[in-house]
């Protein structure tokens, strides 16, 4: 996975674009902050989310965190593997730990995100 292909939000979600599809997950920083992830509540395929809507819930042993949908669009696919192996988010947040695929409605929304370098700098200020 080339990290340069990823864009990041201030809420620690990442977006990776493939044509009209956007893969969504959470960052290495986020998985570390959460600790052992033991439960993921995935969105229904076919549902439309606006940018900033709650997309999924991720729970660690101690806490519940909401994952926000960085982009507006319809859910094309979700990572069913996470239902049985939520720890994939800890092990491989940028690869096997992806959460959902959204059909990009408005490519302009992508301009709001940070690239990997800016995101790294952002994390170091937290």
């Amino acid at each position: 996975m080339d990290i340069k292909a990823f864009k990041f939000t201030e809420d620690h979600e990442w977006v990776r674009v493939e044509g009209k599809k956007a893969y969504i997950g959470i960052s290495e920083y986020a998985q570390k902050e959460l600790g052992d992830i033991v439960y993921v509540d995935l969105p229904p395929v076919g549902e439309r989310f606006a940018g900033g809507d709650e997309l999924a819930e991720v729970e660690s042993v101690k806490a519940v965190s909401n994952i926000f949908c960085p982009l507006s669009g319809e859910v094309l696919e979700v990572n069913e593997e996470l239902t049985h192996s939520p720890e994939l988010i800890n092990k491989d947040p940028y690869g096997q730990g992806w959460i959902a695929v959204i059909e990009i409605e408005n490519p302009d929304e992508l301009n709001d995100f940070m690239d990997a370098e800016d995101y790294d700098n952002f994390c170091s200020t937290l």
Partner: protein
Amino acid sequence: MGELKRTPLYEWHKARGARLIDFAGWEMPVYYEGIVAEHQATREKAGMFDLSHMGEIEVKGPDALEFLQSVMTNDVSVISDGQAQYSVLCYENGTIVDDLLITKLPGRYLLVVNASNIAKDFNWLKSHIKGRVEVLDRSSEFAIFAIQGPHAEDIVAAFYGESVRSLPYYHAIELDYQDKKNAILISRTGYTGEDGFEVLLPNEYALETWNKLFEVGEKYDLVPVGLGARDTLRMEMKFALYGNDISDQTNPLEAGLGWVVKLDKEFIGSAALKSIKEKGLERKLVAFEMVDRGIPRQHCPVVIDGQPVGEVTSGSVSPSTGKNIGLAYVPTGSSKIGTEIAIDIRGKILKAKVVKAPFVPSHVKK
């Protein structure tokens, strides 16, 4: 984190990369590597916990036993020197001031109390003193480590000598440290459901001892364990946690602690508890597991026939079984094992059922 208190091992935890949290005003490790791994290590091998935030209150004087009998729910007269006992302090109305461990030692009783309740307990005891009794808050002097798990005995024996192997459950021995007589107290107690020991020692020996225990423990796969796994380990055993499952809003009978409530003697709260018992309990603390997918959390409502009837007091995934489990108060009529209940988890009504506790078998030394 402003004015948080720190144990003598704070720098060690930090250097080890622990995630630190505010726990009852203390900056404590919640985990080092991860809660699940530390939980499994304790069940399968051995884990060591820094519990130095807990409080130590000493009670002594010619009337110490009589005084303790007047405030403790359990019968303190049955323990002799070198024995420990689990007990509860109650208010007049039968609700709980704190739960604690009493150890009888020559000429004194040592009470180990919850970190969040040190000042409250101390003031409570002081204000109810009867006769020639001294009550001392010695919390700032001591550190406590717990070494728990199937390898705990080997580790503690390798460090403190073979004599600890024969220490029975809920017994304690005092050991010398260098030239100081009886400086260390080792008890065969714990809060995990595994065999293990708790070591109470003066702060000044804490870091050195902790490091040496890890040196000795290395070949037994000893790992440091944070408060996160301490919570999941005790939850699997249905051990009550003050502030979650027991509080000044609950009484020990409904919390399933009737076994430490001796109503054949008089103590603060005994009259109220007698009348509660005679009337019959309205609700009980039960163990439950989720049938539907979802992790129950503290304060989630328990729902029966569409009505909220109680509340989850502790909830988590069980690292040992992978099931989502919890403890909750439910009406006595719904407390039988197998009863179907539902938990309202952030607006979703999810099926659960009352199950037998503990969730996993206990391995304490009986």
